[in-house]
Symmetry: C2
């Protein structure tokens, strides 16, 4: 229904009020004069992949960081972009819908128009399909009026989340050339931003003048690295889900007879589950990263839950709330192996009915052990990125059933003396994705939209818009841009026989850092959460009053301002250079040499270390 995109919507009272909310801009983006300062050439966090990445992206690898500063900032090397010729920019929704996406477009539009009213912003209708087919809608203030600060992607719609095949890349290039676009802004997660980097490289190589910019819009929260602290949508999704989890906790405590197993959307990583745990304090969460790190089997996890149920029953507590990230199923080793076999058979064209007959004896035994509903779900075709259809696999029901069986057994054997175990299962999936965005997401998305314009005005290609120092108020945020290639890692492990991504650079997928501060915060409280029912209810998403300005707890727990600290380092180096100029005393030179030699020794050892701990430990 192309004709329905971008039509004015009838808004409820609350939506109307939200549509009038004007996000603040950090000082550096206020007014029409913005300075750009370029930092050093960038390198990916994992040095082992640098060579592969540089070869795959000869035109766009190693570009410098860009910092956007206010016009009055006293930075000698920064350039002021004074000319703002009219530009034509296209924007496309690529990843799954994430609350705040509309505000990126609004911010971009506001920045474009404030610098030159003759500039044009075109939205591609129907996501990537619209890009390939060159279907556009000109974004105007009128078009935006009922979409400002609203959820969903219904302004433009979205279809597939990839621009990857030669055919797709060529279609995208034709669109950019035919529409005479100076810039193409791509909103999405890891997959879409990896595609954006590839598109930028291809455009540069083909001398296509369109610059490509990526924006981290994905509520999964897994596009995190030195430069990107969080993703648009993550805050909202966690708040909406935390509200619901808290409600279930209150319910559990009122009736005191059910264990609730709640599966949360969030793909492979457990970021959403961890954040919700910190916000609402359920009794347990089975983090995929912990399971993978400890190689816990389905039986280990079942036993862990059963032991918890038993320990609680000994304190006369016969209720509880357990969170299950949807990605858990891929973290459990034997289920992962089974899924890989199934996906391999899919790849070889074996029909669903025949797959079970073609499984290896080991996988077949596991498959037959599983309840029928989960067998059916495991047999579903994998997604475009070879992962299982996580939203369709009811891991929460599988675990609830296994726990129930085990508790009945313990009850019969007399090892468990509590009440009959009762489970209720919930999937908190699509009900959060279309939510009105939180104030944080409204602001963050709007600011990123503005930054996209400045990236294009600076003539940069293959960059991602970044705003950092986010745990502080908006007026402390730092705005910048980093080459997408600097966020890449190279996959060195197989993801099953149908995987085609091994050895290919991709934007780094951040799982929960088990050495990070957010995880530590959880671990320090996990036993209290488990036993003491210290449920916390942040309440429904608010836009005024207490809670309206709350930020994600995982965001606030981590060290931040990597961009600021990189700049600080540069200042130290400049200072050394200015003190130790030719002509300085022997003593000063000696001291400097000794100190620098020690620093470089330490850093050489650290950076060549084979234990790459992941970009999330910043």
């Amino acid at each position: 229904m192309d004709s329905d995109y971008g039509v004015a919507k009838e808004l409820s009272d609350l939506q109307k009020q939200r549509s009038l909310y004007q996000p603040e801009l950090p000082p550096c983006l206020q007014g029409t004069t913005v300075r750009v300062e370029f930092g050093d050439a960038t390198t990916p966090a994992d040095p082992a992949g640098a060579h592969v990445i540089s070869r795959a992206f000869p035109h766009t690898y190693g570009q410098p960081l860009a910092h956007f500063l206010r016009a009055t900032a006293k930075v000698p090397d920064a350039q002021i972009i004074t000319e703002h010729p009219s530009v034509r920019v296209g924007v496309v929704f690529c990843g799954r819908q994430s609350p705040g996406g509309h505000n990126v477009i609004w911010g971009l539009h506001a920045a474009i128009k404030s610098h030159n009213p003759n500039s044009t912003l075109l939205g591609f209708l129907g996501g990537t399909d619209g890009l390939f087919a060159q279907k556009t809608l000109e974004i105007t203030d009128e078009v935006l009026s009922t979409y400002k600060n609203q959820g969903g992607y219904d302004l433009l719609g979205r279809t597939q989340d990839q621009i990857r095949t030669t055919e797709q890349v060529n279609a995208a290039m034709s669109a950019c050339q035919n529409l005479k676009l100076d810039g193409l802004v791509i909103l999405g997660g890891i997959t879409s931003n990896t595609d954006a980097a590839q598109l930028a490289e291809t455009f540069a190589e083909s001398k296509c003048s369109t610059k490509v910019v990526g924006v981290p819009v994905t509520f999964y929260g897994d596009l995190r690295n030195q430069f990107v602290e969080t993703n648009v949508g993550f805050d909202t999704i966690c708040k909406v889900n935390s509200q619901l989890i808290s409600n279930v906790c209150t319910d559990a405590l009122s009736a005191e007879k059910y264990y609730y197993f709640i599966r949360l959307m969030g793909r492979k990583a457990s970021h959403v589950a961890l954040e919700c745990t910190l916000q609402s304090h359920p009794n347990m969460v089975i983090l995929g990263e912990e399971v993978a790190a400890s190689k816990l089997t389905l039986f280990d996890i079942t036993k862990q839950i059963c032991d918890a149920v038993q320990a609680r029953a000994e304190q006369d507590k016969n209720h509880g709330v357990i969170l299950i990230p949807e990605g858990l199923v891929e973290s459990i080793p034997e289920l992962y192996a089974l899924l890989q076999e199934i996906h391999g058979l899919h790849g070889r064209g074996v029909s669903i009915e025949n797959i079970s007959a073609h499984l290896s004896p080991w996988a077949s035994a596991l498959f037959e052990f599983l309840p029928p509903f989960i067998r059916k779900q495991l047999l579903l075709h994998p997604e475009s990125d070879d992962s299982a259809q996580l939203s369709q696999i009811e891991t929460e029901k599988l675990l609830a059933q296994l726990v129930e069986t085990e508790m009945s057994k313990r009850l019969k054997e007399g090892t468990y003396k509590g009440k009959k175990f009762n489970a209720i299962c919930h999937f908190f999936g699509y009900q959060a994705r279309g939510s009105l965005p939180s104030k944080f997401d409204c602001d963050y998305a709007y600011v990123l939209g503005h930054i996209c314009y400045h990236i294009l005005a600076a003539g940069l290609n293959g960059y991602m818009a970044t705003a950092t120092n986010l745990k502080n108020p908006v007026n402390k945020w730092r705005c910048g841009a980093a080459p997408i290639t600097s966020m890449m890692t190279v996959k060195r492990w197989s993801r099953g026989p149908s995987a085609t991504t091994i050895g290919k650079p991709a934007v780094h997928f951040a799982s929960i850092d088990l050495k990070g501060k957010a995880y530590e915060l959880f671990r320090n409280n996990a036993s209290k959460f488990l036993m003491d029912d210290i449920y916390r209810n942040p309440g429904p998403l608010q836009f005024e009053g207490p809670g309206a300005d709350a930020k994600a707890l995982t965001l606030c727990a981590e060290d931040q301002d990597y961009m600021g600290r990189i700049k600080l380092l540069q200042e130290y180096l400049d200072k050394v250079r200015s003190i130790v100029k030719p002509g300085c005393s022997q003593e000063i030179l000696k001291a400097a040499l000794s100190a620098m030699s020690s620093v470089t020794d330490v850093l050489t050892v650290m950076s060549s270390s084979s234990t790459f701990v992941g970009q999330s430990t910043l």
Copy 2:
């Protein structure tokens, strides 16, 4: 965990702010002087049951309505209750937890203490089990501090929702006598209030001095009649669910490829589903009352949905949102019949494994036709009131599967030419029940709590607290009390072989009135909802700003103020009496006789009419 009831909770910022919210009182309840005016003796709406009810409740049937008025009200017959000796009152959570329950206790406590600080309010710990076991917690301001305006029932907990067997009734009476209670306040829905009426009758008969008061607290919204406009919790549940439904609608419109089947909690009636439909405008809702009225089979409903999918596909729309009330399964004739057979076999002690073998050939054929997951769910033991375990039966999945099969068939046959049909199922159940109560529910519950005290102060037994004229601001609300017996009807139909309630009076269960204004509002818009995607997003529950004071649309659509109109009628009758006094002219007497004879003729015909249309058409 008795020791955990009533402990101070750690509140989030929003919860803290809510705990400071002070609900307003209607003028009649302000201050410490309240007048009581008694109306005429009451009669149940269905005259056919009056005789049965009066025989079952000889001591409590036919009591007058009570209106609470401000002390300065110019009503000659009203009494001012001037003496407020110290009283001992007990309060117990009976039904399922419903947002606002805590505020009834708070309101009751505030009223009791403001009239006599020496009075005592005892909360029974663990619901009815606590009542039977005489486990209490004295309610104080300190105990209440972290529960004011908060969701759940965790202040006191709840267990079974019935006080019905002789053993239970005797235990309740012993508790009241041993604890020297002047009053017992019971919070709950239809079942609990029916039990409250029975308890009041038994106490009166046994000369037990404890007066029993019921409060309509049930988010199902099915305890509605002339005197009760809505129930505590309904507003909150509908708002929380409408938010989520709207989010899913936005999601559907963004990706344009899924049909969402959402099952909503709400027991047998479809009130929650209708209210949510009016709030968020999903494409379809399958109301149980419509299905029952038209005797639609599973295949009729499937066809209805398939035809809608097809019609939408012809307009290039391949997405949609369909609401399924959890009670639907009992409204579909053949499924209901099957459930009755199953429950009958349960009643005869047939084990779950053997039930399918004992079904009649017809039921067996249907049973075998159904997918395995639903068979398993249908076999679950019925609830205490003989209804199926609705929360466990995934009707949404059954319908999605049937529709998918039919659409594939139509696709093959070429009658359907749209895209492949994709369904995603959701159950919006326990995630709403524990929510922070909406402002309306906070106010309504608090006011009802106050009224409970005045009922007891007036010495009334077997009454329900009522506040009416609710679509107007709190200062226009009318406060009163009606005998629970006047809200009763007598069940004349079997609910399966295990039903024991036939012929017994019970508080009238209100299903959606298909001749009512709320339903009419829906019907007038149903085709637009279906085809035009005029989704509306009321947003998350707000406590400040737009939407915070919104009220249920079904509440606002209906004619209200039955209590006010009853009073108006009394005024007319009084006026007639005062004009047509002995000594008036022949003409006046003649005119009065003629008019009154015509009025009484009409009313006689109408009230003897065998078509009792239900108490919900008011």
